[in-house]
């Protein structure tokens, strides 16, 4: 998905303005010219300058505002993308209550199936791989991965 440079420039410009507005509220250090806002302020001003240059370039290039990449017109690839991103979102939302093993299995199964792995292979793998990863990180490296709905098994 390629945006016109002007669109991207506008996003960066908005970011730099947001930074400049935020630092106004930062405290000043008495007796000194520079406080916590000085450095981010400097960066934001340079970034704003670059953004304006990019906007100018975008207007000159006259490319469409958004050029859909080839994959965006293929429903299958859009679905792949959404499931990959959705899998991470799902983990962030559900991991603590549902636990690592069920979450991992669901994410893997969904991704395997959308990437056209044979179901006969995808489902067993989706069940076994989270257990393997869990054993490595939970037992060997002692990362307290959440158990969630399952009792503590090992």
């Amino acid at each position: 998905m390629r945006f016109n440079d002007a669109v991207l420039g506008a996003v960066f410009l908005a970011l730099s303005i947001a930074v400049l507005v935020t630092i106004q509220a930062f405290p000043k250090i008495p007796g000194q010219s520079i406080g916590p806002g000085a450095f981010p302020g400097l960066i934001a001003v340079i970034l704003a300058g670059c953004s304006l240059a990019l906007i100018w370039r975008g207007f000159r290039n006259k490319t469409p505002l958004v050029a859909m990449g080839a994959w965006l017109s293929s429903p299958r690839h859009v679905q792949n993308f959404l499931i990959a991103v959705g899998g991470l979102v799902f983990y962030v939302v559900a991991a603590d209550s549902l636990g690592f093993l069920p979450c991992g299995a669901i994410i893997l199964a969904a991704l395997f199936l959308t990437l056209r792995v044979r179901p006969a292979l995808a489902i067993p793998l989706a069940l076994v791989l989270p257990v393997v990863i869990h054993l490595i990180f939970y037992k060997l490296l002692r990362v307290p991965l959440p158990w969630g709905v399952l009792p503590v098994l090992w």
């Binding site: 390629r2 991207l8 930062f26 450095f39 340079i46 670059c50 991103v85 792995v117």
Partner: protein, 503 residues
């Protein structure tokens, strides 16, 4: 020094460390061999695991895995015409053409043997120059460090294929990300958006896992290319004829290794840039430039040596100044800080055994590359047949666990997600990601030295250039900064004058 080297030997030749080196070598060879998994991604995936190791094995794992991955990226280049890592892209067509001519073993053998030699060359430069540079670095004050960081960042922006404007913006974005949190000279919580986890700043590891691993996975799931096809099943003895090549092409080898080391030292440009530049150089100085592109081994000798020597070169500024030479060392510096081994000249004085241990690991890694690389080439057929639609989701699950493991909160996973999508969108739109990482890693150092210098000089900007080394560094920085502008004006001026008058 002898005592420190003895200590370093004891640190490296320890069963645990050797096992780590062996395993990460296999890991690196595997990652490099699978198209779509880069050496940087190998590092990003390793970091959560190295988090649980003592410093020497942690660094050994990164050094070994990346050296192996850069070599083994040549394998799919020769067999599938797809570079396994970007560092092999420069000569992928050449290697593939050789495979088509039935010389797969020569292409792969040259890749393997000259990678190892290039890596050893870069290591030798590192061993001889780093301690000497550290002596100089000891004399540095805040002003010099400020310029070193600016110089490094300028290099990151200006040496690369991407648009300079976009590279600068990527860098500035990284610097802004570095501003988040309490870790600033004033100790004031900035831009935390009311999120407690952000008070300590953006954790480096989840961010890197996102930018280098999750973004690659996203790129894979939307890729439209047809399935890969092996060009040949038959690979002969890869070591056959290598001595002949060594005798025939000593200069390309030395040139490639030297150029690679220099490119590696230059912050922001790593193995891939080194390979492109030395391939071009090999063609320029070759007696038979017309053969390039038709399956001629000379360019592979030079560029294959260059990309591995760049890897070692990149560690020189990383260890001496704490300024990463490429995105891999940017991650490694993050690991060094986590381990309490803050890179910089004092590391050479207080903990020389650790530095020497890193040197030894480099030598060891480039030596075991020969037998293990040989095995990987033997097994390449099977590795390349591994279904990537099973591999990529599994890596995604590793990313989740890895980003969770650093602080044991799902917030790490959220960071990984945000930065993964961000890197994906940025790269789709021609913004390089490496400058952003350098910005994040160096932002804090840059701000600290900037603020301290400003306070010391009482707001007087001229103090930044009056000390001799600082002045020299400032001039170098401005030359790099204004070089492209000057070159552009020059070209514009001359093309105007010489332009034929039409209409």
């Amino acid at each position: 020094m002898v005592a420190a080297y003895a200590q370093a030997f004891a640190l490296v030749f320890d069963p645990y460390v050797l096992t780590v080196i062996f395993c990460s070598a296999l890991f690196g060879l595997f990652v490099g061999c699978v198209p779509g998994l880069t050496a940087t991604m190998a590092t990003a995936l390793l970091v959560p695991i190295t988090f649980f190791m003592p410093p020497v094995p942690a660094i050994a794992a990164i050094v070994t895995a990346t050296a192996m991955a850069i070599f083994s990226g040549d394998i799919p280049g020769a067999l599938l015409r797809i570079p396994g890592t970007p560092a092999s892209a420069a000569y992928t067509d050449e290697a593939y053409a050789m495979t088509k001519k039935g010389q797969a073993e020569v292409a792969l053998g040259a890749g393997l043997v000259f990678s190892a030699i290039g890596g050893l060359f870069g290591t030798a430069v590192m061993i001889t120059s780093a301690p000497a540079l550290a002596e100089i670095a000891l004399k540095f004050s805040d002003y010099e460090y400020f310029w070193m960081v600016v110089l490094g960042l300028a290099g990151a922006v200006f040496i690369g294929n991407a648009s300079i404007l976009k590279a600068s913006m990527s860098l500035l974005l990284g610097l802004l990300v570095a501003c988040i949190g309490l870790d600033n000279p004033a100790g004031y919580p900035r831009f935390d958006m009311g999120i407690t986890e952000l008070k300590g700043g953006v954790s480096l590891i989840p961010m890197m896992v996102g930018m280098f691993a999750v973004s690659e996975i996203l790129r894979f799931v939307v890729h439209m290319e047809p399935p890969l096809k092996l060009a040949t099943e038959k690979i002969g003895n890869v070591f056959k004829g290598m001595w002949g090549l060594l005798v025939k092409y000593p200069w390309p080898l030395v040139r490639g290794s030297a150029l690679g080391t220099v490119i590696g030292i230059q912050p922001g440009s790593g193995a891939d840039m080194a390979a492109w530049m030395s391939y071009a150089m090999a063609k320029k100085f070759s007696k038979e430039p017309e053969k390039f592109g038709t399956g001629h081994v000379e360019g592979i000798v030079e560029a294959g040596a260059a990309n591995n020597s760049a890897l070692a070169g990149a560690w020189i500024p990383a260890l001496v100044f704490g300024i990463p030479g490429d995105s891999i060392t940017a991650i490694a510096i993050g690991v060094l800080y986590l381990k309490g081994l803050n890179p910089g000249p004092t590391l050479f004085i207080n903990n020389p055994q650790n530095i020497y241990a890193i040197f030894l690991v480099f030598i060891l890694a480039n030596l075991i590359m020969l037998p293990l690389g040989w095995l990987t080439i033997k097994a390449a057929k099977n590795v390349l047949r591994l279904p990537r639609n099973i591999l990529m989701p599994t890596i995604l699950l590793f990313c989740i666990v890895g980003s969770f493991a650093i602080n044991n909160t799902v917030f790490g996973v959220l960071l990984t997600l945000v930065f993964g999508v961000l890197a994906f969108v940025l790269e789709e739109n021609g913004f390089p990601v490496a400058p952003a990482i350098l910005g994040v890693v160096l932002g804090q150092m840059m701000e600290e030295n900037f603020i301290k210098s400003m306070i010391k000089s009482d707001g007087d900007v001229t103090a930044f250039v009056t000390r001799p080394i600082a002045g020299f560094l400032a001039v170098s920085t401005f030359i790099i900064l204004f070089w492209p502008v000057g070159a552009w004006l020059w070209r514009r001026y001359f093309s105007r004058r010489n332009m034929p008058i039409t209409g």
